[in-house]
């Protein structure tokens, strides 16, 4: 089975490095799935889940809050602004943040900071399955 080299990196640390068979992400233009041999690409990522299917069949899911994805020479690099493995998400905190953001938006529907906060909190709670 064809594989590619995948690296998921946040400014603070490397979260994943290894061989993978499939990667799914969401760019600013929409969902994208990358398999080995994909056309080389450089994409801006949305606040969305990133799924990496490692060559041992295990699926790693990360909450990625913006960033970049580069694929060339069968090497895929994700440089995320913020990235968290699913297991490390603090669900209670995310839910509290979500409520705060929703309340702020009820007061001011144009509040950009609250909008971003809501997107992030929603992503966290969604992929953590809560």
């Amino acid at each position: 089975m064809a594989t590619m080299q995948v690296e998921v990196v946040s400014p603070e640390q490397a979260l994943f490095a290894g061989e993978a068979t499939e990667v799914y992400a969401r760019s600013m233009d929409g969902e994208i799935g990358i398999l080995p041999g994909h056309q080389p690409a450089l994409l801006l990522l949305d606040v969305a889940p990133l799924k990496v299917k490692a060559d041992d069949g295990q699926e790693h899911v990360f909450a990625v809050h913006s960033g970049f994805l580069e694929f060339s020479d069968n090497r895929l690099t994700v440089l995320a602004d913020v990235a968290e493995p699913v297991g490390e998400i603090d669900v209670a905190r995310a839910q509290a943040a979500r409520q705060r953001a929703e309340e702020a938006l009820r007061g001011d529907a144009e509040d950009a900071a609250a909008r971003t906060a809501l997107a992030r909190a929603t992503l966290r709670t969604t992929i953590a399955g809560a």
Binding site: S10, A14, M28, D29, L44, F68, E70, S72
Partner: protein, 295 residues
């Protein structure tokens, strides 16, 4: 009997030095345990820095990167921003002193060249130092240098980048402490803005069928601020590792000194005790002899 009072004073001093020694030793141990973590954080941050630099290098071959607002020098440099990173707490030997001296030297150079200097103070020691000298920092951040998080560094970076874009400052220096090794930490000034075009030279470029989303120029627009923010983050991590190393060394020296003082004082107390006993014995003997002489 003068001896007894002297002994009491010496014993009290020994007790006080011993309790100081306990404090310095615990600071030493805490600092030692922090160095390891701080150095790991420095290492852990490297993959992002090398990744983003590589991508920007390749993108730089796609178009005119030198014209980007964060790379193009301003026409005239009148006001210079200095981001000064110190610790919040003292007891770190010459760590803050050295750093602030480096900052002061740089500020003098810039002022001598006829430029105004704007301070961005990171760490309580920097804030206090400049306020005491009637320099009001443009902005101050405290509580973030002990264990820097990326979000904090990004906030510092975003503020400075904003001021640079608004042309409120025309050049940005980062004054931090470079962690060379456990024994050597060096106060360093690095120019962050405008970004040196050379940093992004030598990219291989992208093959023709490359897919960009959005256009390369827009991606670059997002990447370069991240690159700059990460430089602040790296500087803060280096500084934190240096702070803990300096504190560990300073506290080890203090603990050792306290040990020497305790030894000296104990010796002195023993001598005083011995002298008191000798006096007492000779007084008894003298008294006994005086009595026996009478009978």
């Amino acid at each position: 009997m003068p001896g007894a009072g002297e002994i009491r004073v010496l014993r009290r001093r020994i007790r006080s030095v011993k309790s100081t020694q306990k404090i310095t030793r615990s600071f030493e141990l805490i600092a030692a345990s922090r160095i390891g973590k701080a150095r790991q954080a420095v290492e852990a941050a490297r993959p992002y820095a090398s990744g983003i630099t590589r991508v920007i290098r390749n993108l730089a071959t796609e178009g005119e990167v030198a014209a980007h607002p964060l790379l193009a020098p301003h026409d005239s440099v009148e006001r210079v921003g200095m981001v000064v990173i110190t610790s919040d707490r003292g007891l770190a030997g010459a760590y803050n002193t050295n750093l602030l001296r480096r900052a002061e030297r740089l500020a003098k150079e810039e002022r001598d060249a006829g430029r105004e200097v704007a301070i961005y103070a990171v760490g309580r020691k920097a804030e206090v130092y400049f306020r005491y000298r009637n320099v009001t920092p443009e902005q101050t951040w405290t509580g973030i240098t002990d264990r820097p998080r990326y979000a904090d560094a990004a906030e510092v970076g975003a503020t400075v980048i904003g001021d640079y874009r608004d042309r409120r400052i025309d050049r940005v220096w980062l004054v931090y402490t470079d962690f060379r090794s456990a024994l050597a930490q060096v106060s360093t000034a690095a120019r962050i803005l405008p970004v040196d075009v050379e940093e992004f030279a030598g990219g291989e470029g992208f093959p023709a069928q490359f897919m960009f989303e959005p256009a390369p120029a827009d991606i670059l627009d997002q990447l370069i601020p991240r690159y700059v923010e990460h430089q602040f983050y790296a500087g803060m991590l280096e500084s934190a590792a240096s702070e803990h190393a300096s504190r560990q060394r300073a506290m080890k020296a203090a603990t050792d000194n306290a040990g020497d003082v305790i030894e000296d004082l104990t010796r002195e107390a023993n001598r005083a005790r011995q002298a008191a006993i000798t006096t007492e014995i000779s007084e008894i003997v003298g008294g006994a002899e005086a009595l026996s002489g009478h009978s």
